[in-house]
């Protein structure tokens, strides 16, 4: 029935009290959100927990949804903030739990057969600062720099700079590996 209704309309209807609209919206967004959470955290378990945190808190956040924003912009902002909060909380338990940082440990422990590219991905992501990682997690969702800027509440120039910086780091890493 409503598959041709935009996300924005659903979010609005949900903010207005329509439970069906809310369910439908979540249904639509869940997988994309989960993928983003994975890119933000670098671990399946973490991503599942983070997705759950976000989804369960979402009804309360609907009031903050402004029609001026695209749903993805709004939702991703919620997600990035939640990921940051989670990292902060985790940091107080242990310095090691910094998202992609413990991927390597996880991976070896569970003996996942890692392809070369996955291996490289892990090292690459772990080699970036949390800010750059979060930025990449969003940029890799095929969002424009302007959209990412809106989500992270910085200027578009900052995002472009961060992406360039990340690329520089990636290149350096690759060259280093190839040099070995």
């Amino acid at each position: 029935m409503r598959m041709n209704v935009s996300d924005e309309d659903l979010a609005e209807a949900a903010a207005g009290g329509d439970g069906t609209a809310f369910g439908l919206l979540l249904e639509r967004c869940h997988d994309r959100l989960f993928a983003l959470c994975f890119r933000l955290t670098g671990s399946r378990a973490e991503a599942e927990d983070l997705t759950q945190d976000i989804c369960l808190a979402l009804p309360g956040k609907l009031a903050g949804y402004q029609q001026r924003a695209k749903v993805t912009t709004w939702l991703y902002r919620v997600a990035v903030n939640a990921a940051t909060d989670r990292r902060r909380r985790a940091a107080s338990y242990t310095r090691a739990t910094e998202g992609w940082g413990d991927w390597e440990v996880d991976r070896q422990a569970s003996a996942v057969e890692a392809s070369d590219s996955l291996d490289w991905l892990t090292r690459a992501m772990a080699g970036l600062t949390p800010t750059l990682r979060d930025t990449l997690a969003l940029v890799l969702d095929d969002l424009t720099h302007a959209e990412v800027a809106q989500i992270m509440d910085v200027s578009e120039g900052t995002i472009s700079w961060r992406v360039a910086e990340a690329k520089k780091k990636l290149r350096a890493m690759r060259e280093e590996e190839e040099g070995i």
Binding site: A13, D18, D31, K70, L170
Partner: protein, 706 residues
């Protein structure tokens, strides 16, 4: 190997690595989120005091579904459906909120001609166009109001040529076919306002084309459409606005507490804020109303000081019958500052400290700010200097100190200001103070003018820490004024704290008119202090007065001992400014006396003293600008009531208005009608039309209350 490849590799690897969500987990999360949603919804509905019984939601949902499904059809069908939707919804526009149908909320009354309908045969492209507009809008060179609103501009390419026509608005208000306000609940989800076109049944005036259009108000431009001062804008969520205020000053018994002490307050932000709220069709929150700032918004024709006055100001006290209570009296204290000849004024160094964070990117913010500063430039003399510091993620100097006559350079620097990034208020403040100190030479006046939408969200965001920093800087002789722009995020309490500690004023600028008032008409007063730390103390005579209360000044109360303590900061009086304070007093033996006299303390037999004809004794302390020691003047207040002048009457009417907005219990049956009549009768010359505007606001508040 290029960097592009690295990126592609990363993306490919990431896509490969990203697992699919676990189905069971997914279902569980969705179900629990839904449960949370229902739970939240229950409390929201309760808070809204909706007149719609919950079971009727099904009806609206049905209408919503129907409309949503049909919107892909031909436009004619859609339009008709919207008209049907309108019939359902128009009797109580409010109900829209509770129903899920977000269909008709564009705050634009446009007119579609047949040709235009033909030109836009299908509604869905509108959505795409709007999304494009969304992306474009932040870069758009937003015009300053009241120029054509950016909303109109961004919707033009998308919404089937929806147009704003002044005539429509007039017609609307005349025929009274205002349908309803769509938004504005406590939760602050503001959606916009809906108008229907007058008359002709087929609802051609409503250019809602279905699903896509609801995104139209989503333009970040936050368009404001102004017509004859009526401000139709989607009100932003007030959630993040914070106001400084305290409970109403209580009634005090003279026998227990004969002395009242307060600091003057020349801020006007509260009045401009409540004006913008009322013009949006909402009553301001009681805590957003500071009565003294409303009263002090208006210029009064009080007697100016002459050569005989030791003080740079002249206090005038009038006692007259209270408009809202025949058994009490008002003690009206008017303080008029001297206005030194403009040509004698010392050179001025101004540092504009401009918030260029992303949130300033709205028509009512940065563009209005730039316009406002332009207005002000014309009033500066060639000896004056101007510099601009911006702050966002980092603070930077946008304009090195420049003589005010070099308007081309200054203007170019203003034009180049762009919003983006988060806010580092403190870094900016430091840079601005440093620059101001650099510019200052002997005998010159320096001031930092901070323009912001209120956010200081990086660095020291704790108001007290900021206050301390500014109070420190105040000692260097550089003062700070705060200009607030835009609604939705205004941290009124931070603004107040900054201005009070920086020996400056806080003003809220919502329109270019207000900018003119603050920055041009009252330029001298806003920028040149004539008396620092002006404190007022009134001691009431218990033989004459039984009870008193100070109207307003809740945030400016001082302890009795602070009056003579020169280390305690207070408000500044600017050149030509006037300040008004009003007490309501209950004479001894009046039937209005609320607190019965004590049996044992009542009569000590020492009546008939020499002060029987004095109502009280007023003392004022102030410092000459830059001095450390205060000077005192004092004189008795006569107990004989007089016939009030128009100025005092008007101040009383505004004080009454403010108390009505605050829901003050002391007014009894006295309401808006009486306030309007009193203000109307004492409008005076009203050179700038401020008083007329105030009366219009009272009318608006009256109808909103009913």
């Amino acid at each position: 190997m290029t960097s592009h490849d690295e990126f592609q590799d990363l993306k490919a690897a990431m896509d490969a690595a990203t697992p699919a969500p676990d189905a069971a987990r997914r279902a569980d999360v969705l179900a629990r989120a839904q449960a949370n949603f229902e739970a939240t919804q229950g409390s929201l509905a309760a808070a809204r005091q909706s007149s719609v019984p919950p079971e009727r939601r099904g009806f609206f949902r049905g209408a919503f579904d129907m409309l949503m499904t049909k919107t892909t059809g031909a436009l004619t069908a859609t339009t008709a459906l919207v008209a049907v939707g309108f019939l359902f919804l128009s009797p109580q526009g409010q109900e829209l909120l509770n129903g899920p149908a977000p269909l008709v909320q564009e705050p634009v009354t446009g007119t579609l001609t047949d040709d235009e309908i033909a030109a836009d045969p299908e509604p869905l492209p509108a959505l795409i166009a709007v999304e494009e507009a969304l992306e474009v809008a932040p870069e758009a060179d937003a015009p300053a109001p009241p120029a054509p609103s950016p909303l109109t501009r961004t919707t033009v390419p998308s919404a089937g040529e929806a147009r704003v026509q002044d005539g429509d608005f007039e017609a609307l208000s005349e025929t009274g076919s205002f349908v309803g306000t769509l938004a504005l609940e406590q939760s602050g989800e503001a959606l916009g306002q809906v108008y229907s076109a007058p008359g002709d049944g087929a609802a051609p005036g409503v250019t809602q084309l279905g699903a896509g259009n609801s995104a139209i108000i989503a333009t970040p431009a936050d368009g404001r459409i102004r017509q004859g001062g009526f401000d139709i804008a989607p009100p932003p969520a007030p959630d993040t606005e914070e106001f400084a205020n305290a409970d109403d000053n209580p009634l005090r018994v003279v026998a227990d507490d004969p002395v009242s002490t307060f600091s003057i307050d020349v801020d006007t932000a509260s009045y401009a804020l409540l004006r913008s709220t009322l013009n949006r069709g909402q009553l301001p929150a009681p805590e957003a109303v500071r009565v003294e700032e409303m009263v002090n918004y208006f210029p009064y024709d009080y007697p100016a000081p002459d050569a005989d006055d030791v003080s740079p100001f002249r206090p005038t006290v009038e006692v007259f019958a209270t408009p809202w209570n025949p058994d009490t009296q008002l003690v009206h204290i008017g303080i008029q500052g001297e206005l030194p000849a403009i040509e004698d004024r010392p050179p001025l160094n101004l540092v504009f400290l401009v918030d260029t964070s992303g949130s300033m990117n709205e028509a009512a913010k940065l563009p209005l700010l730039i316009q406002s500063f332009r207005l002000m430039l014309d009033r500066l003399t060639p000896e004056d200097q101007v510099a601009i510091v911006t702050y966002a993620g980092s603070a930077g100097v946008a304009l090195e100190p420049t003589v005010a006559s070099d308007t081309a350079t200054i203007s170019a620097a203003l034009t180049a200001l762009q919003a983006g990034g988060s806010t580092n208020g403190v870094g900016g403040l430091q840079a601005a103070y440093d620059l101001a100190a650099e510019m200052t030479e002997d005998g010159e006046v320096s001031r930092v003018l901070l323009a912001t939408d209120g956010d200081f969200n990086v660095g020291i965001s704790d108001p007290t820490a900021l206050e301390d920093y500014i109070a420190e800087q105040r000692e260097t002789g550089i003062y700070l004024s705060v200009l607030g722009f835009g609604r939705g995020n205004l941290q009124d309490d931070t603004m107040q704290a900054l201005a009070q500690n920086g020996n400056g004023t806080a003003a809220f600028i919502d329109t270019l008119h207000e900018a003119q008032r603050v920055l041009v008409d009252q330029l001298a007063g806003a920028l040149f202090p004539i008396a620092d730390d002006l404190k007022v103390q009134v001691e009431f005579n218990p033989e004459v007065i039984a009870e008193y209360r100070l109207i307003g000044y809740e945030t400016r109360a001082l302890a009795r001992e602070d009056f003579a303590n020169d280390a305690v900061d207070a408000g500044e009086l600017g050149a030509g400014h006037s300040v008004t304070a009003i007490y309501e007093v209950t004479p001894v033996g009046s039937p209005a006396q609320l607190v019965a006299p004590l049996r044992y303390a009542a009569d000590d037999g020492a009546s008939e003293t020499e002060f029987g004809d004095e109502l009280g004794f007023i003392s004022l302390r102030w410092k000459e600008p830059g001095e450390d020691e205060s000077t005192l003047i004092d004189f008795p207040i006569s107990a004989t009531p007089s016939e009030p002048g128009t100025e005092a009457q008007f101040a009383a009417a505004i004080a009454g208005f403010g108390q009505l907005l605050r829901g003050n219990a002391f007014l009894g049956d006295w309401g808006y009608e009486e306030a309007i009549a009193l203000a109307n009768a004492s409008r005076g010359d009203d050179e700038f039309g401020y008083r007329t505007e105030a009366i219009q606001l009272m009318r608006l508040a009256q109808s909103l209350t009913q």
